[in-house]
């Protein structure tokens, strides 16, 4: 144990004695650890924010999308889905991209034309005010329910009820504020479907949410929806019906593969860093041949010499790993600030990366260490 601490002290000292060389050697490890942690953390955070956005909509929800531009369905066509027993509600909607202005503030938004049932079916909640109601659709009013991010951009406050903004040349009055969700729905503006249709200059509807009567009947609702869409379009390639939970699973799979791949690529750079350590350790062994000879002459065993160089390699790689860990924490914070999202450090990736550093130190340190320990004392002493 004393041997171990002495070797450790010596290793730290010789690492500090050649600061520039040690740093350059560690750079490979630092970059490797940083890329593993940063890439995996970003991938995982992105996944979880998208997943939570999808799952907040509920697992009893189906989305229907018409993909064929020649098929024009209107609201009533979609409402026919309500005749099925497994369907609890239908919410056709229409998305229009536009720019909202208030005074000198403006922001690009997705304006979504909705029916009175949309909020309930899509699982959206109000922070304050009221929702879009059927009479708004009847009168084609210029009323709007806005997301928190839109409120922030336009008014720099959440106290927006009764305030107005302009969009596509019309003045809208805000009647409600959506609860913050942390996803892209925060930058949406909900308006009456009929108003949106006027903007789009078309009554064609291409998207709708279908809510199943319960989570157990989602599959039945999906089959019934697909049947109805086939009846309406007479072409099974012209529409898609997605099950949200299915979508979620697919996305999780894709993102897991992606972060595994990113982690793998980053791990390769760690490996390259390890080769750098081996290289510099070989140089160090050659440089310190005389030292090895002296140590052997005064009683060092093979195992002592072996341990000394092995510990030195490990100190280099672990120190590099820790610096990499610190820098990735810093990097993630900066990235989160720039990209304006919350990114948590992926601790599993950090632990795996650090363990990998230890493995690299031992694996790439053992060859130079073994080489050093096998020198005979006179061979080592005679070389200058």
């Amino acid at each position: 144990m004393t041997m171990f601490f002495n070797s450790l002290r010596l290793a730290v000292r010789s690492t500090l004695a050649n600061k520039m060389r040690s740093f350059l050697t560690m750079l490979g490890i630092i970059i490797g650890v940083m890329s593993v942690i940063v890439l995996v953390s970003i991938a995982q955070s992105t996944t979880s924010s998208i997943s939570s956005a999808i799952s907040s909509m509920g697992s009893d929800l189906l989305t229907v999308t018409v993909t064929d531009e020649d098929v024009t369905l209107d609201v009533d066509d979609f409402m026919e889905l309500e005749q099925y027993d497994a369907v609890a509600g239908v919410a056709p909607y229409l998305t229009v991209s536009s720019t909202a202005r208030s005074g000198s503030n403006y922001t690009s938004v997705s304006a979504i034309g909705i029916t009175g049932d949309y909020m309930d079916i899509a699982g959206r909640e109000l922070e304050s005010g009221r929702s879009i109601v059927d009479s708004d659709l009847d009168w084609r009013t210029y009323t709007a329910v806005i997301g928190t991010e839109v409120a922030g951009e336009l008014f720099e406050s959440y106290d927006v009820l009764g305030k107005t903004f302009t969009m596509s040349g019309h003045t809208f009055t805000i009647v409600g504020l959506l609860s913050e969700s942390g996803s892209d729905t925060d930058s949406q503006i909900l308006i009456p479907l009929t108003t949106a249709q006027r903007f789009a200059d078309s009554t064609a509807i291409t998207t709708a949410y279908v809510k199943a009567s319960s989570t157990n009947t989602v599959d039945i609702a999906q089959a019934q929806t697909e049947y109805q869409m086939l009846l309406l379009t007479r072409d099974e390639d012209s529409y898609d019906v997605y099950n949200m939970s299915e979508l979620l699973e697919t996305m999780d799979d894709v993102m897991n593969t992606l972060s595994l791949m990113l982690g793998g690529i980053a791990a390769i750079s760690l490996l390259v860093g390890g080769i750098g350590i081996m290289n510099i350790m070989l140089v160090s062994v050659a440089e310190r041949t005389r030292e090895i000879g002296i140590r052997k002459a005064i009683g060092a065993r093979r195992s002592h010499i072996m341990m000394q160089f092995l510990i030195e390699a490990c100190v280099l790689s672990i120190l590099g790993g820790l610096i990499g860990l610190g820098l990735s924490a810093l990097g993630l914070r900066i990235f989160a600030m720039i990209a304006d999202m919350t990114i948590a450090m992926e601790w599993r990736a950090a632990i795996v990366a650090l363990l990998f550093c230890v493995v690299i130190g031992v694996a790439f340190g053992s060859y130079p260490a073994a080489k050093a320990s096998k020198m005979t004392p006179i061979e080592a002493l005679q070389r200058n």
Binding site: R290, I294, G299, P377, I378, L381
Partner: protein, 228 residues
């Protein structure tokens, strides 16, 4: 204490064969001070390497303090070097990255002594060679004579009873050389067994007995050696 019988050691340098030790036999008793004298290339460094267990002979028997060296494993040889032999080299062979105290402490680390005991012994050894006030100096901050005294202290600290000195004054000015020889003489009086390798007859005369080396062979007197 040391018994060498019919030791042979041959090196091959390119096509040439060098008989560095050619049927060398030597008996050194405990507390003896023996000088080994010979010109360079005569094989005296090889003799020192064999006696110091740094190198193994090709054939012949070497018994150190009752232990047959030929039968030792690598690990046992390290232990013998650590506990029975103290080296003093011509080039001092101190580690530049460590203070005088740490250099002296180093062999004690390999003997697995506690920190406290190491410190006590290393300090005592440095005081014994008159460097009690230079313990924290690096070798590069010390004069040649002082560095060699640190090397002697390192040999003493390990509690070895045999000291092998290979041209200890070779890299020193005459004043420091005299000091080191005086120190070695004192150690001899204190009961250490000392093997001193030198090519300088004057220094060899300070020993109780001189062995002459010529072409790898050992002779008891200069006249015999000159006949070769």
């Amino acid at each position: 204490m040391l018994l060498l019988e019919h030791i042979f050691k041959t090196y091959y340098v390119g096509d040439e064969t060098v008989h560095a030790l050619d049927d060398a036999s030597l008996h050194v008793r405990q507390n003896e001070f023996v000088a080994i004298c010979g010109p360079s290339g005569s094989g005296k460094t090889t003799l020192m390497n064999v006696m110091g267990c740094l190198d193994l002979p090709d054939s012949g028997r070497y018994i150190l303090d009752g232990v047959n060296i030929a039968e030792c494993t690598d690990k046992e040889l390290s232990l013998i070097r650590s506990e029975k032999i103290g080296f003093v080299f011509q080039q001092f062979n101190l580690l530049d990255s460590m203070s005088a105290l740490e250099n002296v402490e180093l062999p004690l680390i390999y003997q697995k002594l506690s920190q406290k005991e190491r410190m006590e012994r290393a300090k005592a050894a440095l005081e014994q060679v008159g460097l009690g006030n230079r313990m924290q100096h690096r070798p590069s901050q010390l004069s040649g004579g002082q560095q060699q005294r640190v090397a002697v202290a390192r040999a003493l600290a390990s509690n070895s009873r045999v000291i092998l000195a290979d041209e200890p004054t070779g890299n020193l000015d005459s004043k420091s050389g005299t000091d080191i020889m005086r120190l070695i003489g004192r150690l001899s009086q204190e009961g250490y067994t000392i093997m001193l390798i030198t090519h300088n007859d004057e220094i060899a005369r300070q020993a109780q007995r001189t062995v002459y080396v010529r072409d790898g062979r050992l002779f008891d007197s200069l006249e015999e050696a000159e006949l070769v």
